[in-house]
């Protein structure tokens, strides 16, 4: 059983029955069905969570800027904790990606993905136990592009001192709070001397204040090369946006894909949104075939973040036991059961555990 003892256990809204409000964003495609699966499991576990469902489809606000609906924003600001299903991201369309918009609205600067091998779901890689922490606001994804002359395009990668320091501080805090031994900065400062150089400098500076954690730096290509040969050598990885995107998906692939990987986004002002990072899977939407594991494990991450470790452990144990047992697995895990059957099995185990 893996312990995601979390960070930031403050400012949680508690209402009358000691219930804590969480903004739930079901999302698109298979989003609604996996969200209801998670809600059902939480109900069975009697977790003190009150769900507030909201929709975040982009609307054009006053002034013509794209924004998320005001009721969604209000709910998140009050509850501070969110759980989100998959949202559609169109390629080369008119409005910005929804995920990007959420990030900008709540200043979600850190994307945390713990990648731990799931016992019972076999992949070529065993004993993976690492965490990727990715800077989520700037870098290559600033969205600043120009056509200089016809046929020549320039994309700007932005690295700032503040964002680099912030993510480095978060990485070390996370490492300390979760009893991790080392933090590795991933960069390409040999080629992008100024930008990744700045990122690296900030990481080094922050490392000075955390002498109990070992700090190393490694080139992106070396990390990729070593990751696919021996992932056990890595612990906590911190990096700018693009490398983080690539590496976090690489690590998700090591443990079995996006269908089983949890993810959390930490923002300024204590906001945290936990999400499943797989796609909307429109081809199986509404057919009761989806796998709710990713969203469920993200919800467990959320429970731990809120300090509700017992509930988190209970639900996680039930989930892992179901997977290990291999009797009611969804199609992507190698079985041919329905989502509802999988959910029911987990609920049954939770009841047995009580």
């Amino acid at each position: 059983i893996n312990n995601f003892i979390s960070f930031h256990c403050e400012q949680i809204i508690i209402d009358n029955n000691n219930m804590q409000t969480v903004t739930l964003i079901p999302g698109d495609g298979i989003g609604p069905e996996i969200s209801s699966a998670v809600m059902k499991i939480f109900e069975t576990a009697k977790a003190p969570i009150r769900w507030e469902e909201r929709n975040v489809t982009a609307i054009k606000g006053p002034g013509g800027r794209w924004m998320i609906p005001p009721d969604a924003k209000e709910s998140m600001d009050k509850s501070k904790i969110g759980l989100k299903g998959p949202l559609k991201t169109p390629i080369a369309a008119g409005h910005p990606s929804m995920n990007l918009l959420l990030r900008k609205t709540f200043d979600l600067y850190a994307n945390v993905r713990p990648c731990i091998s799931i016992e019972g779901y076999k992949t070529p890689y065993t004993d993976v136990n690492l965490v990727t922490i990715r800077e989520n606001t700037e870098g290559e994804y600033s969205g600043i592009e120009h056509v200089i002359v016809d046929g020549v395009v320039q994309s700007i990668k932005l690295i700032t001192e503040d964002a680099s320091r912030r993510i480095a501080e978060y990485a070390f805090e996370y490492a300390r709070n979760n009893q991790r031994n080392s933090v590795t900065a991933v960069h390409k400062a040999n080629i992008m001397r100024m930008s990744d150089g700045l990122f690296l400098r900030k990481c080094r500076e922050v490392a000075e204040n955390y002498k109990d954690i070992k700090f190393t730096e490694m080139y992106l290509d070396t990390v990729c090369l070593n990751m696919v040969q021996d992932p056990t050598q890595f612990d906590v990885l911190v990096m700018p946006n693009l490398y983080g995107d690539i590496l976090s998906d690489l690590c998700a692939g090591l443990i079995g894909g996006l269908g089983v990987t949890p993810s959390g986004n930490i923002g300024a002002n204590g906001v945290a949104i936990f999400e499943s990072v797989h796609g909307t899977a429109p081809d199986i939407a509404g057919l009761d075939l989806a796998n709710p594991t990713a969203l469920l494990l993200s919800a467990v991450m959320m429970l731990r973040h809120m300090g509700l470790h017992d509930y988190g452990n209970k639900i996680q144990t039930a989930c892992f036991d179901t997977i290990r047992d291999k009797k009611v697995l969804t199609k992507d895990l190698g079985g041919n059961s329905k989502c509802s059957e999988f959910t029911a099995d987990i609920c049954r185990r939770i009841q047995d555990l009580d």
Binding site: D162, A189, C224, V228, I246
Partner: protein
Amino acid sequence: MAAHSAVLSMSKIIKPFWGGHLGNTVKVFGTTLTSHRNKSSLTPPPAKYGGRHTVTLIPGDGIGPELLNHVREVFRFSCVPVDFEVVHVNSAVETEDDINNAITAIRRNGVALKGEQNAYFQQSTAVRSMYTSLDLYANVMHCQSLPGVQTRHKNIDIMIIRENTEGEYSSLEHESVSGVVESLKIITRNNSLRIADYAFKLAREKGRRRVTAVHKANIMKLGDGLFLQCCREVASGYPDITFDSMIVDNTTMQLVSKPQQFDVMVMPNLYGNVVSNVCAGLVGGPGLVPGANYGHVYAVFETATRNTGKSIANRNIANPTAMLLASCMMLDHLKLYDHASSIRNAILNTMNETRLHTADIGGQGTTSEVVQTIMRFIQSKGQLTSEY
């Protein structure tokens, strides 16, 4: 008249003394001159003098020098008609003179074999400029599972073609305000078309069925969007080859779970760096995969991964396979196909049949043992070899 006959009689004396050597010189000189005139059509085997090719050799740092010495040893043993012009690039000194000398030497000879460079040295923009000033626009890497090597995935056979001159590696950075750094990623239509064209041509030449473009056009809509568009345009001219595209993060995920689905991949510079390192790791590590940088006129061969970050120099444990396979690619480029096949077969036999492996792939052999075994294989095939 007397002088004339004197010269003639002199040449009669000299000619048998030098054997056919002097005669050949005149013949080849003539050939070289004419081939320069026709240079626009093909890349002819450059710097051929007396039937022998001259190749620039850049030893580099770390394990580069010892591996290249082994290459020379094997070439000498198999009587390969290649001479090396060694150009040292001193990584400790940060001036650009050394690398400029190397570039000039490569221009002169047309072909180079390069050892790995110290990662620190790569900080010099001059090293990047080698690829851009020689216009080595395509970096090609062929990752193949070797039956004798134990890996988590089997049956991998992927060709990776990476744009080598622009993209994120343009080294155009500036600090607009204090604490804010901007780095420019440039994508141009010309280079994208060129690399896509190279990829499809290579795919057709090698009988490959599918080309996959790797990109991040959902986020970098204009930049990678342009790259993708150029690939699609070129793809329409090759209806016999299937073309599809994949986003780079999904690509890495697929590579670690089902790498057998990929055939040929084409991509801009940075993604190429990531994907080629992932693939090299999948087939067994940096000691096994050769890489080549091609331009219209020049070609530079090296190991596929440019810095491994491990210091195993001078301990006789480095894996010579990657460098030797790179030298075989070079021999193919010089049209010395027989020599290339014989060395390549010897390497593969050593790897697969005798199972003599170096430490990086789980064995206990030393570098020299592997090289001796390779040379024994070459000798056993009956080819002409020099005295030991």
